[in-house]
Symmetry: C2
């Protein structure tokens, strides 16, 4: 017998990682990116009040944070209108998705998602031995009726839906989600990833009772609130399901400064409003830059824009490579036909200027390659 | 069928939490503690250089941190003398222990620990369905030969050993650990928790090859480095085992500021040296205070001291309650006969003055209760 004796599940898992981060790409290319537009971070930064909290905390970092997250959950109850017992805070949506999968999925259990949707969710499903079933996008939107039909077919325990969607930026109306709930299979949870909801129209927000046992909603401080490096997000839903997280989570997993910053960020909705304004302006810039280059963009309810490069995935990849070679960090969808697009995060005017400068060359090069 | 459909393992898990934190206790008593001596935090704080890093980072928190933890692992390779591939960084030792258990333990697999050792490890073992086998302390030290004998008996996949020990503060010599390795059952990993190793004598450090597949060692920035609120720790061992963590960990789980602070902290060993001096002085104070009250203390290789209250667990609990009632936060071991002690973290002279002030009253009250 050799060391170590991994579980059968672990021994069978591939050694892949869900994402290569921009820092690693920068090390590989030996230079920092000139514009960081690939990870849908908020280049407009966090609330200055959150930064003040970080600076004030300073030496107090010697104290363990509160594992019950009382102060942040209090702020969130005011923000959402629910009870403390409806909220769980964790190390980003990634961490919360992993724990949700662990609560529900035994090896062989079925899970449904869209083909090309968030790979980190798929990573967690594989990590607990679940069987993933994928449904194609329809008109560049996640196809909720098809997801539900597939869930019935395979008796899925979880359906993953991002609204607004990543990587396309499209969205479903809240009413579409509300009316779909009654068609969910018995015992199937809709994992509703609302990472980008702060940028969506009001109408994209479904009206769902906090105690509805069929839905768990995920939110983050990484996007609108500009705190991706802090690693903090939350989920809300029925108290019974929320309580179950306490059976398995790393109770002391969230950074104390992140907790304090998140409370300050939630209480500074004015900052979020002006971030939304800047994101809107930048989305118009991206659309204009696309148009100037004979390309189009998809409507977006997020802080990024899918730019349609007009041909196939190989062509879009060549455009992306051309931008990357010029120090513009962007990413693209994984599967056809969505991979005809590149995905560009919104940024400051200087970031948009760099994009406008570099896109024509990247396009010309890609067209030359394609012949 | 009801919502949600938990796994059988989750449905069977109790809804207990491994620790109640001091913040919750403060909310319950309606006042902050006057001396925070219960969680073995470092009241001497982190390196000023780490605090500077935190303050400088500020607005840059909008960026995702590096999921490969390249910079910190580089600093750690210099510190430890191993390769990058021997190190994994995570959300504190708690998070790393959870992932190690997930890698190795399927429901029903055997795990061995000491009765009264770290409850969060036990929590993770239960969380993955492992079967815990407990061995009693011997002379207030963890009994490594007995742990190994038990591991043979039950065919354990993991033995947990904290050196130095928490909650007693005692330690094994490194040579005792080295010579025990050859007696480990085939395929059994020694999980060596060295959270307090910075306070231990050199001789407590075993000399083990980094690529030895039988041992995984855990370290933290929460204790000597004074960054408990940052939630960051690391493990080191054979590259094959370390690589396996990448199959399951939350790749973006660690706070970016924590990563940068940890690098600065590792590079400031002078700060650690003066923390050690302050801890030594405080341990002498605690011993003196005990003696002044007719009590004794155990030798400690940590930043805390087990004070022997001289009677049984009920008596020590009464002393602890008396201190808590006066705003002195302390904790105590869970099982007999170790629970004749209370566990007091080292602190600043003002914390020691408060302890000296309040202990006589707490003792008198406990003696009165005991009759």
């Amino acid at each position: 017998m050799t060391h170590p004796r991994y579980t059968d599940l672990i021994a069978a898992l591939p050694s892949t990682v869900p994402f290569v981060g921009p820092d690693e790409q920068e090390r590989d290319r030996g230079a920092v990116f000139r514009a960081r537009l690939g990870a849908n971070e908020s280049l407009f930064g966090p609330s200055p009040k959150a930064i003040d909290v970080l600076k004030d905390l300073g030496a107090d970092i010697w104290k363990y944070g509160d594992p019950t997250h009382f102060d942040l959950k209090s702020a969130l109850t005011r923000h959402l209108g629910c009870a403390m017992g409806n909220i769980i805070v964790g190390e980003g949506i990634d961490g919360l998705l992993g724990n949700m999968v662990r609560l529900l999925i035994s090896p062989g259990d079925a899970v449904v998602t869209s083909d090309g949707a968030y790979p980190t969710f798929n990573y967690h499903v594989a990590g607990f031995g679940g069987t993933l079933h994928k449904v194609t996008y329809r008109d560049d939107r996640e196809d909720l009726p098809a997801l539900i039909a597939k869930a019935h077919e395979v008796q899925a325990k979880i359906i993953y839906l991002a609204n607004p969607d990543n990587p396309m930026g499209t969205w479903l109306e809240g009413s579409e989600i509300e009316s779909a709930l009654d068609s969910l299979p018995e015992g199937c949870i809709l994992a509703l990833d609302e990472a980008y909801i702060e940028f969506a129209p009001q109408s994209a927000l479904p009206n769902i009772a906090f105690e509805d046992p069929r839905v768990l909603r995920f939110r983050t401080f990484s996007k609108g609130y500009g705190m991706a490096g802090a690693r903090i997000g939350y989920a809300f839903g029925a108290a019974d399901l929320i309580r179950a997280f306490d059976k398995i989570r790393n109770h002391f997993g969230v950074n104390q400064a992140a907790l304090a910053m998140a409370s300050a960020a939630i209480d500074d909705q004015d900052w979020l409003d002006q971030v939304r304004d800047q994101v809107r302006v930048s989305k118009e810039s991206i659309a204009q830059i696309a148009q100037d280059n004979g390309l189009s963009t998809l409507p977006s309810a997020t802080n990024f824009v899918a730019m349609d490069c007009g041909r196939d995935g190989a062509f879009a990849k060549a455009v992306l490579d051309g931008l990357m070679a010029q120090g513009i960090f962007v990413r693209m969808p994984f599967v056809a036909p969505q991979n005809r697009c590149i995905r560009i995060s919104t940024g400051r005017p200087e970031d948009m200027a760099l994009l406008a400068q570099t896109l024509p060359g990247a396009l010309a090069q890609a067209r030359k390659q394609a012949g």
